[in-house]
Symmetry: C2
């Protein structure tokens, strides 16, 4: 079988379009409606998506404009994906958990537990917090700086994966006759002492079906890329053009050999915002329906959030994107991307806000299933992507559209599976099961 | 309808008997088998139990003897109960989470999320860690002392319940026409600054179906009782005799008025270890089957753990329980209870270990459904209990036995429901829905 692309379904309550919740087809309370998420999971699984992907932030926005966005009330990802594990069988379950404001023992344990609950379908989107508001919920006056965040993240990863190897795969013999529950020689106490953490171990969860849950990352800064090259197995990234995506792909894959890793051991999955219609005109019209629901102030607020928690409300809507300082809290790579976009297309603040209201700076495709499949195929075949993390404007409608039209087109072209290859997320992604470091 | 008793099903992997995993009817890998837990939940729900109760510890034992006990590999409770929420409809879901080694924002959020996922069935068993090994997994050399643990727990509770009130019940208007997603006047930023925590808030989860998940506690020390009187809605306790249970019940209920609380606002549910048979002889024989599977060293190790993480392996098995120091890590009230038991019955170390191998010092009932119902009725009617947290020796068998024989007997006597009264755990327990402090 020739190489096939991988697909993640990036779920976000009412959808990725900031005004989706106002659309008549969208349940406005989707963020806390389990039946809604269950339906999404089942649509994605029926379409053979590799995984569900759920982002996270451990803070709620409190500026006044936040009251006009559906961003303040949603399930916590690990509890949500645990619940979804009980009503799905094949699809991977990737939850985001920050290394900045968590303890590695808890994170290791919850993801190992999810991996057992789901029979080997857990993935951890390892992030450093990009949101200064989070610091204030965890006893700090200000956000941890960029460099320290990455140093902490690297050590956090070491501890978590070390804890996942606490037990060899066959440590638990559970021999009723002799009374031996586990083999003490196959228990490994981590005893980690580092710059940021001291964690003794062992984990109180057996090694999980995948050996270790899949490590996902989304950092695109220099530090982010280097951490990904060392530790990530899937990278989610925002790329606005084929050329940029190819450069990113080549750069990241090129960093793998120095860590003794093969190109296949890391899957690069750019985000792609997709609006699909039976005709191009229908797709454009669908897109416009959402765009007309965006209040300019809401678009600008979303923009400020994406640039690094800036309050842009004091700048004129019709003026240019102001010069903004590099901050420690922002997503540096996202800031660069959006500044370039505004300059290239000469967009006012309101126009830029409206532009990113759907895909938040991700590559956007609006068209027929064939047109969309053409672009995905192009990126896939030209070395820009191993797969895609799919963002749709509204849920569940946008996901149904993608599942019912784009997926069959990709399957017709032999680019996407018609049945799951394996039982675990790793097997479906084509990632090797990690060997226990202690075995 | 006359007052009825409440029932919790205290789930523990293979069962509460330390040797249960060796029994031929018990799946030895139950701790990480979701199908097993799903079955338990469905048995308990069919029997109209109020809630499932899952204990927790954030450490695994590493002494050599631990390799002969089924205590090292199990699901993390919040992920487990989230998954169970998707396959149950009525039963409450009470997970333990320690205040000693957690952050209140995470705890508030995960339980609020579980409450939404389950449609109002979440309970938080708020504990202070009783296990010094936990400290070592969270960057500390030694355990937090008893007094500080309780001071931290009290403030932790304040922060968590404050975060649960971040939003008024009707804060989220989600008005598609006007674009108002929430009413800013109904958002309340906690801004907590205390001795142990600084947490700004708000929570990024809407106020949950129960207003607040049910607060459960299990502390029996003076500080534990006082915290319970102030903050708990359900108290789980180990009591060995009717007289002791009545005294505890009277003491705890007697502390409520000073916090402006009614007797009904706190349900006291002693643990009861139950082995049921069609005849008393059959029940005794069943019990003996498990007792014969206990290695003396295993019983003594369990005892050491219960007394406060003491290594008792250096003391003679046939000698008396040695004098042990009061430690900061142990459960002080449990230590007192077991020391008295050993003295009263003049038990050797091995005998005491064997004695607690099933019910771990909880009130134990071995007999017919009628005999067991008689005792439960007596405790319930004589002011010793509002209900019981049921421990069975092995799972699923012991729970099936209880559900199929003791529950119907209690129902015949009008002591237990035949249908769930409400949709939420609070409604079934007869607990009021908390008013939002800010509303």
């Amino acid at each position: 079988m020739s190489r096939q692309l991988k697909l993640g379904a990036f779920l976000m309550a009412t959808g990725h379009h900031v005004a989706a919740w106002r659309h008549p087809d969208v349940p406005a309370n989707a963020g806390l409606d389990f039946a809604h998420y269950k339906r999404l999971a089942q649509i994605a699984e029926a379409a053979k998506f590799d995984a569900l992907f759920v982002a996270d932030s451990v803070a709620a926005p409190t500026q006044n404009i936040a009251s006009r966005m559906a961003r303040s009330d949603h399930f916590e990802p690990l509890t949500l994906l645990s619940a979804l594990s009980a009503v799905t069988e094949h699809i991977g379950l990737i939850a985001t958990a920050t290394t900045s404001y968590n303890e590695p023992y808890h994170v290791a344990r919850k993801f190992a537990s999810l991996d057992h609950l789901s029979g080997g379908r857990a993935g951890w989107n390892l992030v450093t917090s990009d949101n200064a508001a989070e610091a204030l919920n965890f006893g700090r006056d200000e956000h941890i700086g960029h460099t320290e965040r990455y140093s902490r993240a690297r050590e956090f990863h070491q501890v978590v994966t070390g804890l996942w190897d606490s037990w060899e795969d066959d440590a638990f013999v559970r021999d009723k006759a002799s009374g031996a529950y586990y083999d003490p020689a196959k228990l490994h106490v981590l005893d980690h002492v580092g710059e940021h953490f001291r964690v003794k171990g062992p984990l109180n969860v057996a090694r999980s079906p995948q050996g270790q849950p899949v490590i996902v990352q989304a950092g695109s800064s220099e530090l982010g890329r280097e951490l990904a090259a060392q530790t990530a197995e899937v990278v989610f990234t925002a790329q606005t053009s084929l050329a940029n995506a190819k450069a990113f792909y080549a750069d990241l894959k090129g960093r793998l050999p120095k860590y003794g890793r093969s190109a296949e051991s890391l899957k690069i999955m750019p985000g792609v915002f997709v609006v699909v219609g039976r005709t191009e005109a229908e797709a454009q019209e669908k897109c416009e329906t959402f765009q007309q629901l965006v209040e300019p102030e809401v678009g600008v607020a979303l923009l400020g959030r994406m640039l690094g928690n800036f309050d842009l409300s004091k700048y004129p809507l019709n003026g240019p994107l102001p010069q903004l300082p590099q901050t420690e809290s922002g997503q540096q790579s996202r800031q660069k991307l959006l500044t370039e976009l505004a300059g290239r297309e000469n967009l006012s603040l309101a126009e830029l806000g409206r532009k990113i209201a759907g895909g938040r700076g991700h590559y956007s495709l609006v068209g027929t299933p064939q047109q969309i499949a053409d672009r995905l195929q192009e990126w896939f075949e030209q070395g820009a992507a191993d797969g895609f993390n799919v963002l749709v404007p509204h849920l569940p409608g946008g996901l149904e559209d993608f599942a019912n039209s784009v997926v069959p087109e990709l399957q017709r072209r032999g680019l996407f599976r018609t049945e799951y290859e394996g039982r675990t997320l790793r097997q479906n992604l084509g990632l090797a099961r990690p060997v226990n470091r202690f075995a």
